[in-house]
């Protein structure tokens, strides 16, 4: 959970996590809790409820809730243990243990089915559905689908530009001397050895893609290497959900400088600096939106425009054509 840390919230960490976990879906918790309380009150008052088939389910829900409150959701041990295991960012998954959706659904189904008249059950179902629609926002994924922002445009379910850009990079790279030399070296190498594995990794064209495409590239084509790894790129884009800091990481600083340079976000970056960082990170290709590319700096740093495809420029650095 981004921004919810033990150091910031202390004993309130668990409560804050639960609040963020539920968000505007808090009625689920309210339904489950109300059902459990009602069942408990009825069970205390009436023996028949305790003997009923529905009571064990409520009993299990109570048992899980109490055990969790005493152990994994107890703020005192959690404050000490969670940071030690590096679980701060994924602590919310502890709440999965409590069957919230199943619990709420169980009480709702009981409400609908335990009516003497079918029409009452139907009416209650309608009221619950209306309450859901008015109180709780739609699942963001489903909402994206309905607004057609998440509909796939191809069978791979990636941005339409990715296949074309990957082919263009491979096509160009396979015509370079470096590729031919790498293939020669790789021919007799043992990939199970550290050297062989390194050699294989270095034989791939190393690229930097725009953020919009970066995470789709290696899913589509693992034959392309990236200068940034996932966590590093997330950190650069301001996402702190991984809980990692790359401030002091040299590779990160070099990659970040390249990105700032290629987009013209920092005027103080010189061609020399850019060149040095491209060399140090082993970056072979830069892919940048045509209208956002800082052409002057890229060309002065020794980058060559290979081609333009689907609104993106592909620049090559440090490779010689065979």
């Amino acid at each position: 959970m981004s921004g919810v840390t033990v150091s910031a919230y202390g004993l309130r960490f668990v409560a804050e996590c639960l609040k963020t976990y539920l968000g505007r879906s808090w009625p689920f918790f309210a339904v489950a809790l109300c059902g459990m309380l009602l069942h408990l009150v009825l069970a205390v008052k009436m023996k028949t409820v305790r003997a009923g088939d529905a009571w064990p389910v409520s009993k299990v829900l109570w048992l899980i809730l109490i055990c969790m409150a005493l152990t994994v959701c107890n703020p005192f041990p959690v404050r000490k243990i969670v940071p030690r295991f590096g679980m701060t960012t994924v602590y919310y998954r502890v709440f999965w243990v409590f069957p919230l959706t199943a619990g709420a659904a169980w009480y709702l189904t009981l409400l609908w089915t335990r009516q003497k008249k079918k029409i009452t059950g139907l009416l209650l179902f309608g009221i619950c559905l209306a309450a859901l629609v008015f109180l709780v926002p739609l699942n963001p994924g489903v909402e994206n689908l309905l607004s057609r922002t998440a509909l796939p445009t191809n069978v791979y379910k990636v941005d339409g530009a990715v296949p074309g850009l990957c082919s263009a990079v491979h096509e160009d790279y396979e015509r370079t001397r470096e590729y031919a030399a790498a293939m020669e070296e790789l021919a007799g190498a043992d990939l199970k050895s550290a050297e062989g594995a390194e050699l294989f990794a270095s034989s791939l064209p190393r690229c930097i893609f725009p953020f919009k495409l970066e995470f789709a590239v290696r899913q589509y084509d693992a034959g392309i290497a990236l200068s940034f790894d996932r966590n590093m790129r997330l950190y650069y884009e301001g996402n702190r959900s991984t809980g990692l800091s790359y401030k002091g990481n040299r590779t990160y600083r070099q990659c970040a400088l390249i990105l700032r340079g290629m987009y013209g976000l920092d005027d103080t970056i010189s061609e020399k600096e850019m060149k040095r960082c491209l060399k140090k990170t082993g970056t072979d290709y830069l892919i940048v939106e045509t209208e956002l590319a800082n052409r002057l700096l890229l060309e002065r740093s020794g980058c060559e425009l290979v081609t333009q495809s689907a609104g993106y420029d592909i620049y090559r650095f440090g490779l010689t054509k065979a």
Partner: protein, 372 residues
């Protein structure tokens, strides 16, 4: 179009494998009443347990993905053959009673079909390029491209000197690579469409089975039992149909990115989605069963397979132990079922073993080298 056509066989094969393996296991156990949905669910857990054991062996021995694919092809053939031999009689019985069973669902049958179709459609149509999909789908595509298992960073392509225990010990993403290798389809199609559809189907079956467990004997005291068609079994079946609808609606309105519903619909190709929507509901069903006094050995055996498959799915399988410890352990302690208590820990053994290995790798006691 060609790719889509090639994606159909694995889409059919996976549920068929689950059903066959489940039928074999149920035949070996003998004591259980055969149900197609239970067999498919049990088969799913046993299948992924088997895959985890095999894949871990291949991964740690630095063997190739193609070798694993060939081995899995042989395993699949054996499962299918054994399933047909062991399960054909039970299937025939189920099919002869199918009409009667479907009739007992009444309108609920349409609810179940609509919910399942809607869930599958959502995951088939949904697309994103999140950082997590980069990692998990990247793991599969990297494995297929490099013909290795876990030895290259999926997000950058860099060579790894040691396996990352958190990810390397949960082999679920490699299953997509194996299927893509066997059926010659792109990994992305297998992972994001085929696997997603199968996962969401299994999650719906799990919710339905949970509903059947929760509503066992439902309506017995309602005075509604007038005929066989309106008996307790029928009422519990109809209640389970409604329960599936309720869970679907709640998942549809899961508004934060942390709730299981969003994992089901948007990250269905990830093992975490299976932990939250397949394994945990099944363990909850075991907890309810235990509270009702059914401490059969079968309960702990089922717990074992769920935990084993959970380890295959994700590192979050540790929460399966937490749920079992909260929902089963206190019941056994209060009721002084000491013998059953001894069975509880072997039931959770896969998760405990995983946690032990993970702890040792994190504290430098164990070194999982990714190179020779």
């Amino acid at each position: 179009m060609d790719i889509l056509l090639r994606a159909i066989p694995p889409l059919i094969l996976q549920p068929a494998l689950f059903l066959c393996l489940g039928s074999v296991v149920m035949r070996i156990r003998k004591r259980e009443t055969f149900r197609l949905s239970s067999a498919a669910l049990l088969g799913c857990f046993v299948y992924y347990s088997l895959f985890e054991a095999l894949c871990l062996f291949f991964e740690l021995r630095l063997l190739s993905l193609h070798a694993l694919s060939r081995c899995m092809a042989a395993v699949m053939a054996v499962i299918l053959a054994a399933g047909i031999v062991c399960g054909r009689k039970a299937w025939a019985v189920c099919l002869t009673r199918l009409g009667e069973k479907l009739k007992s669902h009444g309108f609920g049958l349409w609810i179940v079909l609509a919910v399942t179709a809607a869930s599958v459609l959502i995951v088939l149509l949904y697309t994103d390029a999140s950082a997590d999909s980069d990692y998990y789908v990247g793991m599969a595509s990297t494995a297929l491209f490099t013909n290795t298992l876990g030895r290259f960073d999926p997000t950058s392509g860099a060579a790894l000197p040691v396996f990352k225990a958190r990810y390397a010990l949960s082999c679920f993403p490699y299953h997509s690579a194996v299927m893509a290798d066997l059926f010659r389809i792109p990994v992305m199609v297998q992972a994001r469409s085929v696997t997603s559809a199968v996962n969401v189907l299994m999650a719906d079956i799990a919710v339905y089975r949970l509903g059947r467990v929760l509503f066992t004997g439902h309506g017995r005291r309602e005075g509604k039992v007038r005929s066989i068609v309106n008996g307790p079994e029928t009422l519990s079946r109809r209640a389970a149909d409604l329960f599936l609808l309720a869970v679907f609606l709640l998942n549809l309105f899961s508004s934060t990115i942390y709730l299981p519903g969003i994992f089901l619909f948007t990250r269905s190709y990830e093992g975490k989605a299976l932990i939250a929507n397949l394994c945990l509901p099944c363990v909850f069903a075991l907890c309810v069963s235990c509270m009702r006094g059914n401490y059969d050995r079968m309960l702990f055996r089922n717990l074992f397979w769920i935990c084993f498959a959970g380890v295959c799915f994700s590192a979050s399988s540790v929460f399966l132990f937490v749920l079992s410890a909260c929902g089963i352990l206190p019941v056994l302690l209060f009721r002084r079922r000491w013998k059953d208590l001894l069975l509880f820990f072997p039931g959770c053994l896969p998760v405990l073993l995983w946690a032990g290995v993970y702890y040792m790798t994190q504290h430098g006691m164990l070194y999982l080298s990714a190179v020779r």
